[in-house]
Amino acid sequence: MDHLSSLENQSIFIIREAYAQFRNVAMLWSIGKDSTTLMWLIRKAFFGHIPFPVMHIDTNHKFKEIYEFRDKYAKQWNLNLIVAKNQQALDRGVCPEKGKLQCCTELKTNALKQAIDKYKFRALYLAIRRDEHGIRAKERVFSPRDEDFEWDYKNQPPELWDQYKTQSKEDEHLRVHPLLGWREIDVWEYILRENIPMVTLYFAKKGRRFRSIGCECCCNPVDSEADTIEKIVDELKTTKVAERSGRAQDKESAYMMQKLRSLGYM
């Protein structure tokens, strides 16, 4: 079996393992390349439809292309879409200019907390990957969060072979990471093979493109001429620039990502 097929089969196995344990689940869709690929895999796992809600944590600061893509494919793929916002924080005027750690915590982590509280999801599918960031590399495939939403990275449960965690009473919810073993280039090669639609922000215009997308204010494009999926795959084979080099969260201080994640950030 080739590399992409074995990744695909393993991810589908993980997706089904989580659903076998919890029917009350949701997937987080940031509309980026990874979570759109995850959605593609979930549709495959359940033979063409998604038997649970797809949730977009909306900070109101996303690119307009992201909103357009979301609305178009929510309709086309017949998604049960939930748009979750921390409206209170938005009303208070929380914004990146007043502090990025606080902004991410309020508009992403707390928005997610409120949504889980409202819908009582027992598990969430997330499209994080180990090669994106050293902190994410430390994750388990099934990763528990406690009632305060904290990730106890110093005391993670053992995860042997394909035997994933069963939820226990002290877990608020489980994070399920079907794409953890994929690399950035695997994702793009898979997008190419499967012809998965993607937000245009990833494709170069006037010599620049986004490697990683999120909020408009906190993402910077990289220099690139790659304006097709094929060219992106080629670019990734030789680039020495890190995927998240344009993402502000990773840069504020050496351990900002660790702090954000231990508090429940994605």
Binding site: M1, H3, S5, S6, E8, N9, Q10, I12, F13, R16, E17, Y19, A20, R43, K44, A45, F46, F47, G48, H49, P51, R130, D131, H133, G134, I135, A137, K138, R140, Y153, K154, Q156, P157, P158, E159, L160, W161, D162, Q163, K165, T166, Q167, S168, K169, G181, R183, T239, K240, V241, A242, S245, A254, Y255, Q258
Partner: protein, 408 residues
């Protein structure tokens, strides 16, 4: 291009993370950003550029200079893609080491030439044999600190070889090296003049990706059953053998015989599935099936049983007391069970028999036990079908032990 996943294990401070840093650096696998970040963090902490920071990302790891949690990183050679699993060497984090090692097809055991074979060196080697890892490379590291002396290398190789023999672990290569300076890591070095063998990377390239299964027996454990537009689809991953449309099958343990109408995949169905493939099937007859059933060939003699022996490692700080209620998870099967006999338990680092016919198990103790399950389950020897030959034990929703079936 194929992929090989290997784990790096060994005693704390024997150089696991440094080795990975060296490997990534010398194979040109690091981004400029990463190198800058490492240089800056090292400087901030008042140290020389420390490759270990490539993997030791947690603040606690960098400040204390130890690896706490297992990590995976990637690099390529001309031959294939590699996934490296870094495993912590500290005794406190053995469960993280096992988590990492259980996903590896090969292992690299690293030994500090100056410190020699230590407690975790032996424990990790033992765990590799317990997990059934068949391909091992041993690196005698930090030889620069002992002046690249052959007798240091030879005596360590002899010492660890004797230990490997006791535990039944086979090692393909013993390589003298220095991860810090790069000697014999990617390129053959000049300093260990007595050594004629391959560099570490050459040795890696010579290993085999996932060894072929010896058994062609059809094993398709049921993961879940979905109702899609009036169709009942039995979903799962084919673990071994071949499954084709029209084939006659038997659903165990209820011995229902039927045939396969279609092998369902999205967007299009397929004629046959191969091992490792996640698929769904629909059947000609309406059968009752549920998670934990095993689909096999019509004439299969797959045995279901409720008593068997196994080697297990206890992974909880709360001791196991005999007669405690546990749950066994083997492939998609799950049923209450108990450890009916602790035949003998041993210290996983010294191999000393602690007790025969014991009444309890402590954290990191390894034991040969007899397990009794409430419902009979399908099990196999690990070397025949891995997925039915290994299992975890769960207590109060937490995984507390891992094990390999030793006799049916």
């Amino acid at each position: 291009m194929e992929t090989l996943t290997f784990v790096i294990v060994g005693h704390i401070d024997h150089g696991k993370s440094t080795l990975i840093g060296r490997l990534l650096y010398d194979t040109n696998s690091l981004s400029g950003d990463k190198i800058d970040e490492i240089k800056k963090t090292s400087k901030d902490l008042g140290r020389q550029t420390e490759f270990a920071y490539l993997l030791d990302h947690l603040e606690e790891e960098r400040q204390q200079g130890i690896t706490i949690e297992t990590t995976q990183v990637f690099f390529n050679t001309d031959k294939r893609k590699y996934v490296i699993i870094d495993a912590p060497g500290h005794v406190e984090f053995v469960k993280n080491m096992i988590t990492g090692a259980s996903h590896a097809e090969a292992a690299v055991l690293i030994i500090d030439a100056k410190e020699g074979v230590k407690q975790q060196t032996k424990r990790h080697a033992y765990i590799l044999s317990l997990l059934g890892i068949k391909q091992v490379i041993t690196l005698i590291n930090k030889l620069d600190l002992t002046g690249y002396e052959q007798k240091v290398f030879d005596s360590l190789v002899e010492e660890i070889s004797i230990f490997f023999k006791t535990i039944g672990l086979s090692c393909s290569y013993f390589i003298p090296c220095s991860a810090l300076s790069g000697e014999n890591i990617v390129q053959k070095g000049q300093k260990a003049v007595f050594y004629q063998g391959p560099s570490f990377l050459e040795a890696l390239d010579s290993l085999e990706s996932r060894p072929k299964l010896s058994s062609a027996e059809l094993i398709f454990p049921v993961q879940d059953v979905y109702k899609n537009n009036d169709k009942r689809i039995i979903a799962g991953r084919l673990e071994s053998g071949k499954l084709c449309q029209g084939q006659h099958i038997k659903i165990m343990p209820h011995e229902q015989v039927t045939s396969i109408t279609a092998i369902e995949k999205f967007p299009g169905n397929i004629a046959c599935a191969q091992p490792g493939e996640s698929i769904g099937i629909t059947t000609a007859d309406s059968v009752f099936s549920d998670r934990g059933d095993i689909i096999c060939a019509k004439d299969s003699r797959l045995q279901f049983q409720n008593v068997f022996s196994a080697n297990i490692i206890w992974l909880s700080k709360r001791n196991f007391l005999k007669d405690e209620k546990l749950t066994i998870k083997c492939s998609t099967q799950s049923t209450p069970c108990k450890i009916s006999r602790i035949i003998k338990k041993i210290d996983s680092s010294t191999l000393e028999v602690i007790k025969e016919d014991a009444q309890d198990l402590k954290n990191l103790e390894v034991a040969t036990v007899e397990i009794q399950t409430k419902k009979p389950i399908a099990i196999k020897n690990f070397d025949d079908i891995q997925e039915l030959g290994r299992f975890v034990l769960v207590r109060d929703e937490n995984t507390c032990a891992g094990g390999i079936v030793t006799s049916l």
